[in-house]
C-alpha cells in the first residue's frame, strides 16, 4: 500500500474537509456501546472527548466555538450519561481552550497533552458530580483508572488524528 501523494493543482472537496473531523468524533463517541466489554466499574477513557480535543488542538479554526454542544449531545446519547452532561461540560472545555489560546502565544506538544489530561479529568469528575443531582452516589475515586487511560492513550490518538488529517488534506 503506497502512501497518498498530493497532486498539484487539486484541492480536497469541501465535504471531505468539513466532515472528516466530525465523523471521527462521532465514531469515537459511539465506540463504548459497540465494544463488547461488560465492565463492573468505569474503565474506558472518554474517547469522544479525546478525539474532539485532538482535532481542536491541532486546528484552531476548524470548528466554531459552539461545536461542543452538538457533538456532546451525540456523546450523551451514546454513552448513557444523562442528556446534557457532555453538552454542558464540552462547551465549557472548548470555551476554556479558546480563552487559554488567547493567553498562551506558543503551545508545545506537552502543553497539548496537559490540556487534554486536565480536560478529561474535568469531564470525568464533572459528569460524576452532575450524576449526583439525579441521586447517584458514585465516589470520585472511580475516575482514577479512566484518567490514567486517557493520559496514556492521548499521544496515540494524536498520532491517529495526524494520520487522518494528512489523508484529509490530500486531494
Amino acid at each position: 500500500m503506497s502512501a497518498p501523494v498530493p497532486r498539484l493543482g487539486n484541492t480536497p472537496t469541501r465535504w471531505r474537509m468539513q466532515a472528516t473531523p466530525i465523523i471521527c468524533v462521532l465514531i469515537a463517541s459511539a465506540l463504548p456501546p459497540m465494544l463488547p466489554f461488560l465492565v463492573q466499574s468505569p474503565t474506558l477513557p472518554p474517547f469522544g472527548l479525546m478525539f474532539l480535543l485532538a482535532w481542536r488542538l491541532l486546528h484552531r479554526d476548524l470548528w466554531p466555538l459552539w461545536i461542543g454542544a452538538p457533538l456532546g449531545l451525540f456523546d450523551d446519547i451514546m454513552s448513557g450519561n444523562a442528556i446534557g452532561t457532555a453538552v454542558f461540560l464540552w462547551s465549557i472545555i472548548i470555551i476554556t481552550i479558546d480563552m487559554i489560546e488567547t493567553r498562551i502565544l506558543w503551545r508545545d506538544y506537552w502543553h497539548d497533552w496537559l490540556i487534554a489530561i486536565l480536560a478529561c479529568l474535568f469531564f470525568l469528575a464533572g459528569s460524576i458530580m452532575l450524576s449526583w443531582i439525579s441521586g447517584a452516589q458514585a465516589s470520585l475515586r472511580l475516575i482514577l483508572p479512566q484518567t490514567l487511560w486517557s493520559a496514556l492513550l492521548y499521544p496515540l490518538i494524536v498520532r491517529i488524528i495526524a494520520g487522518i488529517d494528512r489523508w484529509r488534506m490530500m486531494a
Binding site: L35, T43, V87, A138
Partner: protein, 300 residues
C-alpha cells in the same frame, strides 16, 4: 504554533462582533445542555426513546463482536482449573457426597411443598419468564452501571422487568427498544433491592456502589448483624423481584454497613432471563376463591 488571526480580530469591527457572537452562541448552547440535564433528571424517561433507537444502530456491531470474544474471556479461568485439578477433584468429590444427601432431603421437602400448595389451592406461576437474551455491551466509559442486551419490545420486554441469570439477580430493565434493552445493573447506585439473609430473616437494603460491589445496610438499628460469607436473597417486598432470588455474598463488614459482591457477574453469565414483575404472577385471591367455590358446587 503561533496564534492565528481569526480569534484575534484586531481592529476589524466586523470580526470583533463575529467573535463575540460565537462566544454568546457557545455559552447559550452550554446552558441549554444544563437545562436538558435538569429536565432529564426531572423526567428520566423523556429522552429514552432517542437512546433506545440509537441502540438499534450499535447493536449489530456489539452483538457480533461479543459473540467473537465470548471464548477469550474465560481462558484464564480454564487454565487455572487445569492447574488445580488434583485438589479440586478431591474437594468436589466430598461436596458431591454431601450434596447427594441434601438433594434427597430437598426432594422430600418439594413433595411436601406441592401437597401443601394443593391444599391451599395456590397455583405455582411458572410462566414468569418473558425472554432469554445475552448481554452484549455495557456503559464502560461512565460511572453509571448499565448493560445492553439483545432482546427488546419485539420479544415482550417492557420497562421495569427484572432480569436474572441462573446464578442470581442481574438488575432491571431501564430502557426498551425494538430489539435491544438497557439493564440497570445491581451494582448501580440507583438500583435499590430489598434483601434478607438466606439462612435467617435478617432484612437489609442493597444498593450499588458503581464499582462492581453492592452495599448492604441492615434495616434493624443497633449492631451490624452481617458477617462475611452471608448470602443475601431477595425478599419480594415491593412486588418487582420474585422472592428468594440470590443477590450477593458479603465479603467485608464495616460499621453499620456491609460490602457484598453480586453472585451473578454480568461479565461471566452466558445468558440472562427477563421475567415478569413478581406482583403480576400472584394470582388474584378472589379468582382462587371463586374456583374453590365452583369446585365445591360441582363436587356434590
Amino acid at each position: 504554533m503561533a496564534s492565528a488571526s481569526s480569534r484575534r480580530p484586531g481592529v476589524n469591527r466586523r470580526a470583533q462582533y463575529g467573535l463575540f457572537a460565537s462566544y454568546v452562541i457557545a455559552i447559550a448552547a452550554g446552558l441549554a445542555g444544563l437545562l436538558a440535564l435538569i429536565l432529564s433528571v426531572a423526567d428520566p424517561a423523556g429522552f429514552s426513546v432517542v437512546r433506545a433507537y440509537t441502540a438499534e444502530i450499535t447493536r449489530p456491531v456489539a452483538a457480533t463482536l461479543s459473540s467473537m470474544v465470548k471464548g477469550i474471556g474465560s481462558i484464564d479461568e480454564e487454565l487455572f482449573a487445569y492447574v488445580n485439578a488434583g485438589s479440586q477433584n478431591a474437594a468436589l468429590r466430598r461436596q458431591v457426597e454431601t450434596n447427594r444427601i441434601k438433594i434427597i432431603q430437598a426432594q422430600a421437602i418439594e413433595q411436601e411443598n406441592i401437597r401443601l400448595k394443593k391444599l391451599l389451592q395456590l397455583t405455582d406461576a411458572t410462566d414468569a419468564e418473558v425472554a432469554t437474551a445475552q448481554l452484549i455491551s455495557s456503559s464502560s466509559s461512565i460511572s453509571r452501571r448499565i448493560a445492553r442486551m439483545n432482546a427488546g419490545s419485539r420479544r415482550g420486554v417492557t420497562i421495569g422487568m427484572p432480569v436474572r441469570a441462573p446464578e442470581g439477580l442481574i438488575g432491571r430493565v431501564l430502557i426498551v427498544g425494538p430489539n435491544s434493552a438497557d439493564v440497570l445493573l445491581l451494582t448501580d447506585s440507583q438500583n435499590i433491592v430489598p434483601v434478607r439473609r438466606a439462612r435467617d430473616n435478617v432484612a437489609g437494603i442493597s444498593s450499588g456502589k458503581d464499582d462492581g460491589t453492592v452495599e448492604i445496610r441492615p434495616l434493624s438499628a443497633g449492631r451490624n448483624p452481617f458477617k462475611p460469607g452471608d448470602i443475601m436473597v431477595t425478599t419480594g417486598t415491593g412486588g418487582l423481584y420474585s422472592p428468594n432470588t440470590p443477590v450477593a455474598v458479603i465479603v467485608a463488614v464495616r460499621e453499620g454497613t456491609a460490602t457484598a459482591v453480586p453472585l451473578a457477574s454480568p461479565t461471566r453469565v452466558e445468558a440472562v432471563m427477563v421475567e415478569r414483575p413478581y406482583e403480576a404472577n400472584i394470582p388474584d385471591p378472589r379468582a382462587g376463591m371463586q374456583s374453590a367455590n365452583t369446585n365445591e358446587t360441582e363436587a356434590p
